[in-house]
């Protein structure tokens, strides 16, 4: 047995498990951030309040209560630019809005942890290939978890208009206002679109806007046989600290995974010759 074979054996038997242990610890930390009701004993998940506003203007202000992956309370104050009229909406008592991005990210992390748990310290890796495959599977889950948070859904305006979100408010949202919530990186974002109805007689060329995270003023769409144009867009956001932590954990674990893969790959000339 050559020294490099010896080294490879050590890598498989010792080092891999050390890295997996480390990965598990990091991911469990990340998973805790998502306030999972895993144990069942925890009962209610902690509620956190966030104030969404922009520094310059106070056209739109939102106060959100986030409980795990759900927005359980939301108060939106909107100052209409034309008449300085103040509008106030809040979630209905019986409703809460699931932030799908957070839910998906949480589920992906959980899947990754589950994959790692299946190969605990007792498990004996026999080939490097096995480790590579495991790392690939874990990395797939982690990069998806990260991508869910970093890439908000691109929605068309009719999709926003028809989403259940519009029906959640009391008093009912006026027909010329659309709202949308999403996560962008570590921030919880609220966008409010003010619309105006396009008259059929208008000379403007109607061109429906495609899907986008944030639509610009002037974007047009058709909804319920009525044509609308976006007149004002307000976007307010607020940093959610634990989302930031989670993202950092994801990045660190992805790097750990890749490093382990690289280490294994160095010995690729050995794992090729060792079938199961």
């Amino acid at each position: 047995m050559t020294s490099s074979e010896e080294e490879f054996k050590w890598l498989l038997q010792e080092e891999v498990h050390a890295v997996l242990r480390q990965l598990q610890d990091i991911l469990k930390e990340a998973s805790h951030r998502f306030a999972l009701p895993t144990s069942g004993s925890g009962g209610a998940v902690k509620q956190e309040n966030f104030v969404l506003s922009t520094s310059g203007t106070d056209q739109v202000k939102g106060v959100m209560t986030l409980q795990g992956d759900a927005l359980c309370q939301a108060d939106v104050n909107l100052k209409m630019p034309r008449n300085n009229q103040l509008l106030h909406f809040a979630f209905r008592e019986d409703k809460q809005w699931k932030l799908q991005q957070i839910q998906d990210a949480r589920n992906h992390v959980n899947q990754a942890i589950y994959l790692l748990m299946n190969r605990d310290a007792n498990y004996q890796f026999k080939t490097g290939l096995e480790v590579l495959k495991l790392m690939d599977a874990v990395m797939l889950q982690l990069s998806r978890a990260r991508n869910r948070l970093t890439t908000p859904a691109t929605l068309t305006l009719p999709e926003i208009a028809s989403s259940g979100l519009t029906k959640m408010f009391t008093p009912v949202l006026p027909p010329d206002i659309l709202v949308n919530f999403y996560i962008n990186l570590n921030k919880l974002c609220l966008t409010v679109y003010q619309l105006h109805v396009m008259q059929p007689s208008t000379t403007k060329n109607f061109k429906p806007a495609g899907g986008s995270v944030l639509h610009n003023p002037g974007a047009m769409f058709e909804f319920g046989s009525q044509r609308y144009e976006v007149s004002h867009v307000h976007k307010v956001e607020c940093v959610v600290p634990w989302l930031n932590d989670a993202l950092v954990f994801f990045t660190v674990s992805l790097q750990l995974c890749q490093q382990l893969k690289d280490k294994i790959s160095i010995f690729s000339s050995y794992w090729n010759y060792r079938p199961y």
Partner: protein, 1069 residues
């Protein structure tokens, strides 16, 4: 139109890696279907005594397969659906291996359940899917379009689903458990209408179970009461009426449950992640105790019979038996259970491991514990891997150049670790594990590998060895075949020890060696067209994620970018800024200045995404393309209309286009392929039927029309090639592969005549070899001079394809005639035929396909017969078309060479026609027209007036789900028999020996005999003909055998009477 490409796979000694991620057995218990992490689907034959043999491998998915499920009522259509990590879905016909439908949706499914309610649903049924998205999707099983979603109050991902069918209340429901452990129930039967009208369908019930990581949920159809929920830590049984918990059993430490199934009333089988399984009996006091069980919850943790007495009123599990493992090896595996109660079927527990091994356990109908009450072990019934098949049928799994490597090394053979085919030169370049690079001729190599008895070819297979690398050759690139910026003599190779060598492929010399010191070279990519048009730049990816830019002209490494933390995914050259943009797998972007070699920027997040998105629009290089099959197919498919551009070359910004089209004339391509994890290299031979037909017919016309070969086609070729010559002066020294330039045409063609004659008369090979050797020595290169490459290649390719299609040994005499007259040589072993079902889906037979079938026939010599029914089909075809073909005249006037070529062409056009008919059954009417045109063109054969009836027959076959290869083989067999029958007489005169040693004359007799019968009943429906064939065969076979000798004698008398005599003879008995 579909790309029409029959293919032949040449596997290597090592089976392609197949890490099973999904496994299922079809309803008829004849096929096992597995999906792999590499993205391939494998079909395995399951015999009635539970023996496994690999059958076919289906290519098409680009990512790991996540789940498999049946996609139709199996008795009607043998369809299976597969889904992958990246959202691809495919419906496969597991009998024919064809891809029926495919789609890419933005959903990743982890479980699919086929649901069809015949009396209330229109269409082909639904696929109920769950996975990494909220709630349950309903997908149309036919179109794979999303029909609707089943929504719920608190949406979450669904982990597992099962359809509950209650006969008592005639209602189907869908039970699902979410990742958070919430059990949800949707009504299916009563919400059929609202689903079809796209109304919101919410769950009927929702209950939080105390289980996370739920793996399976199953309803007990025997009691119609129990619900089994398996989570990774424990399994639980609930009462379906009120969802109260009846019992819980935790798993042993270090194990995780992965699934389970209800075996019978109160009997369960549960399996684990690592391939163990346990059968439990639920000891039940339920019936007597009425509803008292409701009070009970979760107390019976790991209760065993001894303790059980104390808890009599509860349901508790008793371990009856467990399944055995091999050497206590436990590997991660996916498992399933098939519960069949009907007689010919078994209760089978099956598992597929990541290593690619399939294990079957035959579970007894009534599992029992041993007498002392301890659990009993159920032994493994069968274990099989792909590699087992490769080892068993080692002649079929011989690598494409094993011949050469073996002779070099003495023992064993060097494994090919990478290869590239150069279509323009018909050269196959193979890099080996030991660092050697072999350069051979593609077609000759393929022939030497596949055909029998041509030691002549094998011994004289010209090849060259490039010695330079000292470790495994990991990648090869011939940059010239896509872009004329590169010198046609350049070949690049990269190795495990980080060395890139630039070779002169013609001399075999090393032009430059680059030592990168960055780990194994993983990929060599040529720079995009528009980047510095005249510069020959190649990108080189290494295993430490670095990118090296090599300037081949200057023999210089321009830049070695080494900072990347993650594997490189995209590379783009920006000619304006003179920067290199590298996108990595973690979505970060590195921008390098090429001049100075410094890292200018490193971006992550939004900026990186914006840069990458900008790259998408323009030309960029992608690293890690797995199987190049689809690109290759597209390339060949496009060849038709791109041809026209070949004459206005040089003007456009991309001069490479003209070069490309010259390659496309080639009807034969070798596609090297590799699977993801291991280095199993295999080669796919692609035959372009249309192109071959075109080439053959032009060649035939050329031979026919005059002795000078300046027919239209060669003139055109000459014209185009002279133009090309002007373009690439460098190629002068390798003029060998530039065919038929005006002045040379005469001499080159005379060469060809000689070669043709040699080819048709293998008896007189001596002269041929001499000539060949002379020619070989006259060249500087050791390659075979390929002046007439197109023409010869076309015939050789056509003959090779016909060899691969013919069933050998059905009639020894016919075999000999084929080899003797047509030079269609016997195969060395059965071939792995493959077919393209649409532009990116490919099915390839694996070594060992249907080997058992031939044994059943009792004809030991027969091989390469795709299925038993081919013989019947062939007879049917003969019967249906007999009247139309009458006597072929015109043969007598021709000399041998032409006639044989003509026959080859005729046979070839037949199978090509069949292929077209089956591939586009909808366009039958067009096909008739085109066929009539076509038959008008080939004036050397009697026009087939009855081709319409032929079409009808073929379409009828198509309806009977006759496989395309079966049809091609049947027709070819029939046509070969028909065409060669008149030749028998002459064959006997010329080769008396062949007939004496041929004891199988009787074959022909019964064949003729059945033919006669068929003739009598030609008006009767095809099915009844088939029956007659069979009965007459069995009735008279004995007698025919006795007469065999006489038949042969009589044959030699006169060809005209022979037919009559034989038939009357047989009828006389």
């Amino acid at each position: 139109m579909k790309a029409s490409l029959p293919t032949v796979a040449v596997w290597g000694r090592t089976a392609p890696s197949h890490s099973i991620t999904a496994v299922m057995i079809t309803d008829d218990q004849q096929t096992i279907v597995t999906g792999s992490q590499e993205g391939q689907i494998c079909l395995w034959d399951l015999s009635s005594d539970l023996q496994i043999s690999s059958k076919e491998m289906l290519f098409g998915h680009t990512a790991s397969v996540t789940c498999l499920a049946k996609a139709r009522e199996f008795e009607k259509q043998p369809y299976v659906v597969s889904a992958t990590e990246n959202g691809e879905m495919c419906v496969w016909n597991v009998t024919s291996g064809q891809c029926i439908e495919n789609a890419k949706l933005p959903y990743r499914h982890t479980a699919i359940h086929y649901y069809h309610c015949s009396f209330r649903m229109t269409g082909e049924g639904w696929l109920l899917c769950c996975g990494e998205y909220q709630d349950v999707l309903i997908i149309d099983a036919k179109t794979l379009g999303v029909l609707h979603t089943l929504s719920s109050q608190s949406s979450d991902w669904i982990k597992c689903i099962c359809v509950v069918h209650s006969a008592r209340i005639q209602e189907d429901s869908l039970v699902a458990v979410s990742v958070a452990g919430v059990l949800k129930v949707w009504d299916l039967s009563s919400s059929l209408n609202s689903i079809q009208e796209k109304q919101c369908v919410c769950e009927k019930e929702s209950k939080s179970l105390d289980c996370i990581n739920c793996q399976a949920v199953r309803f007990c159809t025997y009691t119609e009461r129990l619900l089994l929920v398996v989570s990774s830590m424990c399994w639980q049984v609930y009462d379906y009426c009120d969802f109260s918990l009846l019992c819980t059993e935790f798993c042993k430490s270090g194990q995780c449950f992965a699934g389970g199934e209800v075996l019978a009333a109160y009997r369960l089988i549960i399996w684990t992640e690592d391939g163990h399984s346990y059968i439990y009996q639920l000891l039940n006091r339920w019936a007597q105790m009425g509803n008292s069980h409701k009070k009970f919850s979760g107390l019976s943790k790991s209760m065993y019979p001894a303790d059980g007495k104390a808890l009599k009123e509860t349901v508790y599990p008793h371990l009856l038996s467990f399944t055995g493992m091999k050497e206590n090896k436990s590997l991660p595996s996916v498992m399933g259970f098939m519960n069949e109660r009907k007689e010919p079927f078994y209760k089978v527990l099956f598992s597929g491991e990541v290593s690619g091994r399939i294990t079957l356990w035959h579970v007894p109908d009534v599992p029992a514990s041993t007498f002392d009450g301890s659990p009993k072990e159920i032994p493994i019934t069968t274990m099989w891997t792909l590699q087992d098949n490769f080892n068993k049928h080692h002649s079929m799994s011989e690598g494409i150049i094993d011949e050469l490597c073996g002779s070099e090394d003495g023992f064993g053979s060097a494994v090919v670790s990478s290869s590239v085919y150069i279509p323009g030169l018909d050269k196959l370049v193979c890099g080996c594990e030991n660092g050697k690079i072999f350069v051979t001729l593609g077609l000759e190599t393929a022939r030497a590998r596949l055909l029998e008895n041509i030691s002549f070819l094998k011994d004289n297979l010209p090849y060259k060895v490039l010695n330079g690398h000292s470790s495994r050759v990991t990648c090869l690139l011939y940059p010239h075949d896509k872009s004329v910026r590169f010198d046609p003599s350049w070949l690049l190779s990269g190795s495990q020890d980080s060395v890139v060598i630039l070779w002169d492929i013609f001399t075999g010399g090393i032009l430059q060696q680059f030592n990168l010191q960055s780990g194994a070279v993983t990929e060599l990519l040529r720079s995009p067209e528009h980047y510095r048009v005249n510069q020959s730049i190649v990108c080189c990816l290494c295993s430490d994620h670095s990118v090296a830019i090599l300037h081949l002209q200057k023999r210089q490494c321009l830049l070695h970018a080494r900072k990347h933390l993650f594997p490189v995914k995209k590379i783009k050259f920006d000619p304006l800024e003179n920067v290199l943009i590298v996108g990595c797998e973690d979505n970060s972007v590195y921008i390098w200045e090429i001049e100075t070699g410094t890292l200018e920027r490193h971006e992550t997040g939004d900026t990186a995404r914006a840069i990458l998105a900008a790259i998408e629009d323009s030309e960029y290089l992608v690293a890690g393309a797995v199987l190049p099959v689809s690109q290759e197919l597209k390339r060949i498919k496009n060849s038709g209309y791109k041809q026209s551009s070949s004459y206005k070359h040089g003007m456009g910004p991309y001069p490479a286009h003209t070069e490309k089209t010259s390659d496309k004339v080639r009807p034969f391509t070798i596609l090297p392929a590799k699977t993801k994890w291991n280095n199993a290299n295999f080669h796919i031979l692609l035959f372009d039927l249309e192109k071959l037909e075109e080439l053959l017919s032009s060649q035939l016309n050329g031979l026919k029309s005059s002795k000078s070969f300046h027919n239209q086609y060669t003139l055109e070729r000459a014209k185009s090639t002279t133009e090309k010559r002007a373009l690439t002066l460098k190629r002068n020294k390798t003029a060998a592969f530039v065919p038929q330039v005006d002045g040379q045409a005469e001499t080159v063609c005379s060469d060809q005549v000689h070669r043709d004659n040699n080819a048709t008369r293998p008896m007189e090979e001596g002269g041929g070899i001499k000539r060949w050797k002379k020619m070989k020595s006259s060249r500087k290169i050791r390659m075979q001079p390929s002046g007439n490459i197109d023409v010869n290649m076309a015939t050789d390719t056509a003959k090779l394809l016909l060899s691969c299609l013919l069933p050998w040994g059905v009639d020894k005499e016919i075999d000999n005639l084929c080899a003797g007259h047509l030079n269609i040589l016997r195969l060395q072993c059965p071939v792995s035929f493959g077919l393209v079902s649409d532009e990116s889906h490919l099915s390839l037979m694996l070594p060992g396909w249907k080997c058992t079938d031939c044994g059943v026939l009792g004809e030991h010599g027969v091989f390469n017969l795709f299925s038993k029914r081919v013989l019947d089909l062939s007879n049917k075809y003969l019967a249906a078309t007999e009247g139309q073909f009458g006597k072929k005249d015109g043969h007598e006037n021709n000399d041998y060479g032409t006639r044989d070529l003509e026959t080859v062409f005729f046979l070839f056009s037949r199978i090509s026609l069949i292929y077209r008919i089956i591939n586009t059954p909808s366009a039958v009417t067009d096909e008739i027209e085109s066929y009539l045109c076509f038959s008008g063109k080939s004036r050397y054969h009697s026009p087939d007036l009855g081709s319409i009836s032929l079409l009808k027959l073929i379409c009828c076959w198509n309806d009977q789900s006759v496989k395309i290869v079966e049809a091609m083989q049947a027709v070819l067999l029939a046509e070969v028999q028909r065409t060669l029958n008149p030749l028998r007489k002459t064959a006997i005169c010329r080769q008396p020996l062949a007939i004496v040693e041929n004891g199988n004359g009787n074959r022909k007799c019964w064949f003729l005999h059945t033919l006669h019968f068929s003739l009598c009943f030609i008006l009767i429906a095809a099915v009844s003909v088939l029956k007659h064939d069979k009965s007459s065969k069995s009735a008279n076979f004995q007698d025919v055998e006795d007469t065999s000798d006489r038949c042969v004698l009589e044959e030699s008398e006169s060809p005209g009477e022979r037919h009559l005599k034989t038939t009357t003879n047989v009828l006389g008995y």
